[in-house]
Amino acid sequence: MDWSPIWLSLKLATITTLLLLLVGLPLAYWLSKGRSVIRVILEALITMPLVLPPSVLGFYLLIAFSPQHGVGKWLHDAFNVQFVFSFPGLVLASVIYSLPFMIGPIKSALQQLPPSLAQASYTLGKSERETFLRVLLPNIKASVFTAMVMAFAHTLGEFGVVLMIGGNIPGVTKVASIAIYDSVEGMDYRTANNYSLLLFAFTFVIVTAVFIFNRTKAKSPLE
């Protein structure tokens, strides 16, 4: 069995999760602070990948980052960066696709904290940044962990969006889910089964780990 799709999937999920953590924490904090029109619109956009067919997102990313025109052409000409049919393209698509899994639990946890926690910190002279890092974040650790694991697991399982923007290039964009599809297309059910079993076992273990870690704090990994 060719292990490169498995390693590629793990590499993609790890990089995506770390990037999502960097983007997701400040974004979830900002979204948790109010219900202005701009926040509602942005949150709706972030949530879209949950309900949108992955192929739709993949199609628009393919068009947007095509090196033939627009942003894609500019990135290619100015920085020699190409997102279409490349690993960075998979990362970009995965970050967008898994963003709601990172934002949702963190935003919800922040909103459930009493506002007086942050207010108490402010009256002690602490800045908003210090309050977030030393008071709010330590008290939503379980939700941050949940969000990271769910984003990781979701990235491992994505198919449509990565196929659209990444195609099926061995060692570059051929992740495990695509390798399964590819094997079935080639009537190689044994290899498809091996990849499927590995993904099934891996995601089962990490989702169970979330349940165990959060057994006293959340009823579902999505909370």
Binding site: P114, S116, L117, Q119, A120, S121, Y122, T123, L124, G125, K126, S127, R134, V135, P138, N139
Partner: protein, 206 residues
Amino acid sequence: MITIDIHKKLRAGKGQTDLQIRLQAHKGTVTVIQGPSGAGKSTFLKIIAGLADADNGSINIHGTTWLDTAKGINLSPQKRKAGFVFQNYALFPNMTVREHLEYAGADAAWIDQLLTLGGLQGDADHQPEQLSGGQQQRLAILRAMANKPALLLMDEPFSALDQKTKADLIAGLQKLWGEMETTVIIVSHYPQELAEIAGQDVYIGD
């Protein structure tokens, strides 16, 4: 001297009610605010601390203007640094008793003095969930005093304490406030318990 003159419209059911307060107090005195539930007592404290906005008015604390809506002055809570005891304590679940006081900026000697005052020396390494309601309330009071604020705002600060603990704590606080010349505003449903230390009573509401 502190001078406060603020106005804010509060939502009350389907209508509105006016919170209009004028207050003057000398440095180092204790003012007790009383009034019915929903009259705006807690909101008044939050406006002073900069945690809620007034519609208009001014707040001057010992010569520094914290708020003057006419001149567009409105200092942040971080700049006002008013000590604030929240009705729900607002303790940080991730911090021990000592860490609360350290976070507030107290040095080791001052922390020891505060722990002794609150009777929490044996609980310095405990987190809030390991404390009783009364201990949590005492920690909230100690934290508010940890950075030696010029103005201390307390929202029902003794409600969870038994009579003896309350009497001992108030006596200790009174001594400390006297030494530090702390100006204190206390919201309480039981002003008679504070009669001995109160310089003036202010009634909010109808």
